[in-house]
C-alpha cells in the first residue's frame, strides 16, 4: 500500500492499540460472547496489518476464513452451549497467578532473545505486492519452492475434517 510515512505510522499504532487491548480483553473478560467479539476485532486488525505489509491476498483470506468462517462457528457454538448473558465463574487465584507468571516469563525470555539477536541486514527492496499468478504457480507447482504436496495434503485434511465433524457432532 502506498501511504505517506506519517499515515503509515498512524495506521500502525491504531492497529497495534486495537490488537493489544482487544487480545488482552478477550482473555480476561468473563462474558464468553464478548470474548468472541474481541477476538473478531483482533482478527480484523490482523488483516489490516497484512494489508499494510502488501499481502492483500493473505489479508483477504484472513477476513474470509477467520473473521467470516471461524467466528461464525464460535458464535454458534457459544449460543448452543451457554445461556446468553451468563458469565463464567471466576478462575481461582492460584490459577491466575500461574497464568500471569507463565505468560510474563515466556514474554521476557522471548523479548530478551528478540532484542539481543543480531538481525541480518537486508537491503529492503520495495517489491510491492506479489502477483497472484506467482502465488498460484507456487501452490500447485512441483519444482523447488513450490508446494503441490502440502496443498494436496491440506485438501485431504479438509475432506477428513468435514467427514469427522459430521460424524462427531451428529445426533445418534
Amino acid at each position: 500500500m502506498e501511504l505517506l510515512p506519517l499515515a503509515q505510522q498512524v495506521l500502525f499504532y491504531l492497529l497495534a492499540i486495537v490488537i493489544v487491548v482487544c487480545s488482552i480483553l478477550a482473555v480476561t473478560t468473563r462474558r464468553i460472547l464478548r470474548a468472541a467479539t474481541y477476538l473478531l476485532f483482533v482478527l480484523l486488525s490482523t488483516a489490516g496489518i497484512y494489508f499494510m505489509l502488501d499481502y492483500t491476498f493473505l489479508g483477504s483470506v484472513q477476513i474470509a476464513v477467520y473473521a467470516g468462517g471461524i467466528l461464525v462457528l464460535f458464535v454458534f457454538s457459544i449460543l448452543l452451549t451457554s445461556h446468553p448473558g451468563e458469565s463464567c465463574e471466576k478462575s481461582s487465584l492460584t490459577k491466575r497467578i500461574l497464568g500471569i507468571v507463565a505468560a510474563l516469563t515466556g514474554a521476557a525470555v522471548c523479548a530478551y532473545a528478540l532484542f539481543t539477536y543480531q538481525w541480518p541486514a537486508v537491503d529492503l527492496i520495495e517489491t510491492g505486492e506479489h502477483p497472484i499468478k506467482a502465488l498460484g504457480h507456487a501452490l500447485i507447482g512441483m519444482d523447488k519452492f513450490q508446494y503441490l504436496l502440502p496443498f494436496e495434503a491440506v485438501s485431504v485434511l479438509l475432506l477428513a475434517c468435514i467427514i469427522g465433524a459430521i460424524l462427531i457432532a451428529r445426533k445418534r
Binding site: I32, A103, L158
Partner: protein, 103 residues
C-alpha cells in the same frame, strides 16, 4: 516500510502471550479455543513479517501462513464438533468436569 520489523514482532509477542495466559486460566473449553486462535494468529503475523522484512523477494512465509490458516480452520471445526458432543453428554463444557473417560 517506515516501521521497523521489531515493532510488528513485539505486537505478535503480546498477542501470543495473551493467548498463553487465557489458555492457562480459563476453564471453559470454548474460551481455551479462543486463546489457541490468538496464538495461531500471532504466529501467522510472524510468518508474514519475516517474509516481508528478511526475504522480500520470496513468498514462502505467505504460503505457509495460508497453510496455517487452513489448518487452523480445520482444527477449530473439529474441536467445536467435539465440544458440542461433550455438551450433549454432560451438559457442561468446563475442562475440569471431563474425567469420565479416566476411570
Amino acid at each position: 516500510m517506515e516501521i521497523p520489523m521489531i515493532y510488528y514482532i513485539v505486537l505478535s509477542l503480546v498477542m501470543f502471550f495473551a493467548g498463553v495466559y487465557g489458555f492457562i486460566t480459563r476453564k471453559n473449553m470454548l474460551m481455551m479455543l479462543i486463546s489457541i486462535e490468538l496464538m495461531l494468529n500471532a504466529v501467522d503475523i510472524n510468518f508474514a513479517v519475516f517474509n516481508r522484512f528478511l526475504f522480500p523477494g520470496q513468498m514462502e512465509g505467505m504460503v505457509f501462513a495460508i497453510f496455517a490458516i487452513a489448518i487452523a480452520a480445520a482444527e477449530t471445526a473439529i474441536a467445536i464438533a467435539i465440544i458440542i458432543n461433550i455438551f450433549r453428554h454432560i451438559r457442561n463444557i468446563d475442562a475440569d468436569n471431563l474425567d469420565d473417560m479416566k476411570y
